[in-house]
Amino acid sequence: MLSHLDFEQSIVELETKIEELRHLGDAANLKIAGEVSRLEARLDRLLRQTYAKLAPWQKVQVARHPRRPHCTDFISGLIEGFTPLAGDRAFADDEAIVGGLGRFRGLSVVVIGQEKGADTDSRVKHNFGMAKPEGYRKAQRLMAVAERFGLPVVTLVDTPGAYPGVGAEERGQAEAIARSIDVSLALRVPVVGTVIGEGGSGGAIALAAANSVLMLEHAIYSVISPEGCASILWRSGEHARDAAEALKLTAADLLHLKVIDEIVPEPVGAAHRDPATAIRHTGDAIEAALKPFLALDGPALKARRREKFLAIGSQFLI
């Protein structure tokens, strides 16, 4: 059963009805087949209408949808011969960050992403995508591998944020994030970052200081979670919906603000309804984004990346 979101009531009712009819009717029953295709057309219309005008808070829900394809789904869909690499060489292997070598559309690349997990066990294993310092240090190490061998870096961002814990602070969570941004900004190889789900705060930018930053149509990217923002500014987490509006965290908002470079369209009804198509579109977009950078030399790649970030927000300065 597809878990559904509160605004999807009528969509789910239709989906259930179609499912029932299919179950009930045999292929020969033309009447039922006609009814099914009529309902399917209606469902398609309804999905298009609903998802074309999702409110920011609804985007937040979609971006966090448990059935939404996660980092490892994108890796298995896009990377051939993915070979994970582990550990920060100092403390531990943090599985909130998944990374390694593989071939993307014929090209050897380093892939680094946050994995939230898909069921209870894997969520615990990946710490719900909330990395600790050792995770960011693993990312830095992988970036260094990319630098050494001249491999492009492909990052997949999907995290509620960096893990807030005692050990994480003691081992220098802030330094680990800062250093990841530092290392990423200094790379002399192309870096393409894609926010595939939730781009949560410092934990996200640690992997998104890229030459080109893409964002899936229903992904979100924000300085703080709407809940966190609401509890600080509204003094109540119940205002998360208002905070989501105010934060301008949707892909369309971010493109308008010139913070991201491109929006990757999702299939009708969002990525969780058709993960394969979503992943393929994402691969196409990454490939296209990567292409112009492959022609540039190391210093130019680094300079362009820094110029890009220095330019962000400058339109608001007087």
């Binding site: 960096a162 814990g165 994480a168 994030i177 930018i205 300085v223 703080i224 105010a246």
Partner: protein
């Protein structure tokens, strides 16, 4: 816009006293709650004479107690136009900004100044915690970038004093983007081969800590300062346990290898002078004599910091003029 056009209009701030005399002649120490006469508090650089608690310092005061003779020049920084996101919580960000600017007479939460420290030219960026919790938005990030560029232009060390709750939420994603932008400022210092020193003051948290503040060549903290990434309450809610004693305090960070030293405010200026001297005047012979006004150019030195930035050893004949004179 060329940032230099802003720079050519420095305002000289020969420091006298803070213009706003406190209405209350007594200051209560937030730690031991003792009432301290304000003059005594000022004389002790806002360190409680009773318990040693380091009170937060307004940016002006921080600059005044740091530079030689309290003399420094601030540079004009660009400010953000009203409200990039049209952000509204219980109040409009535009209104909040207007009120805070009027109250503090400052455009945003950062001040950038340059002057002499132990006779050596330095650029200093100080956060104003009173300005929306020292939060980092576009203008603050830009201030850091310009501070670094001024330092590179002057071939001077950069010292930054963060005091900030983190990113400015009212600028949304644009405030998050100040993390990479401020890191670029650090990289420009590094590539120019210039020292970048961070003095972490109370509090330094969130996106500020997780960017430029943790990338200092040398990391100093003031005693008792709260320094960390996640807020203590968020951590408590996540782990549902009591936090260890002294958690996220400067001393705790020192114990865990996150910073180089914890320095009492009364010793901070001397420590910074020593560090800057060691990093800039790589040989004792490079030391430039300090004149009455702390301006070595008055003494005939051509290079402001008296150091050879190419790293080439300075021949004795050339460096002769830079040596302290017996007379």
């Amino acid at each position: 816009m060329n940032w230099l056009t802003n720079y050519v209009r420095p305002k000289l701030r020969a420091l006298v006293r803070k213009p706003d005399v406190p209405d209350n002649l007594w200051v209560q120490c937030p730690s031991c709650e003792q009432m301290v006469f304000h003059r005594e508090m000022e004389a002790s650089l806002h360190v409680c004479p009773n318990c040693g608690h380091h009170l937060r310092l307004p940016a002006d005061r921080r600059l005044a107690i740091l530079f030689d003779d309290g003399v420094y020049q601030t540079i004009e920084l660009p400010r953000i136009e009203a409200d990039p996101l049209k952000f509204r919580d219980r109040k409009r960000y535009g209104d909040r900004l207007k009120e805070t600017r009027a109250k503090l007479g400052a455009d945003d939460a950062i001040r950038v100044a340059h002057g002499r420290l132990g006779g050596i030219g330095v650029v200093v960026a100080v956060f104003e915690f009173g300005f929306m919790g020292g939060s980092m938005g576009i203008a603050v990030g830009e201030g850091l970038v310009r501070a670094a560029r001024l330092a590179v232009l002057q071939r001077a060390p950069l010292i930054v004093f963060p005091a900030s709750g983190g990113a400015r939420m009212q600028e949304g994603i644009l405030s998050l983007m100040q993390m990479p932008r401020s890191v670029i400022a650090v990289q420009e210092m590094r590539e120019a081969g210039l020292p970048y020193i961070v003095v972490l003051t109370d509090p330094t948290t969130g996106g500020v800590t997780a960017s430029f503040a943790m990338l200092g060549d040398i990391a100093i903290a003031e005693p008792g300062a709260v320094i960390g990434f996640a807020g203590a309450r968020v951590i408590e809610d996540t782990i549902r346990q009591q936090l260890p004693a002294g958690f996220q305090r400067a001393e705790y960070l020192l114990d865990h290898g996150i910073i180089d030293m914890v320095v009492h405010r009364h010793k901070l200026r001397d420590t910074l002078i020593r560090l800057v001297d060691l990093l800039v005047n790589k040989r004792a012979a490079d030391v430039v004599p300090i004149t009455a006004h702390g301006d070595p150019s008055a003494n005939g030195a051509t290079r402001p910091n008296g150091a050879d930035r190419t790293g080439e050893p300075i021949p004795a004949e050339r460096s002769h003029d830079h040596r302290p004179r017996a007379d």
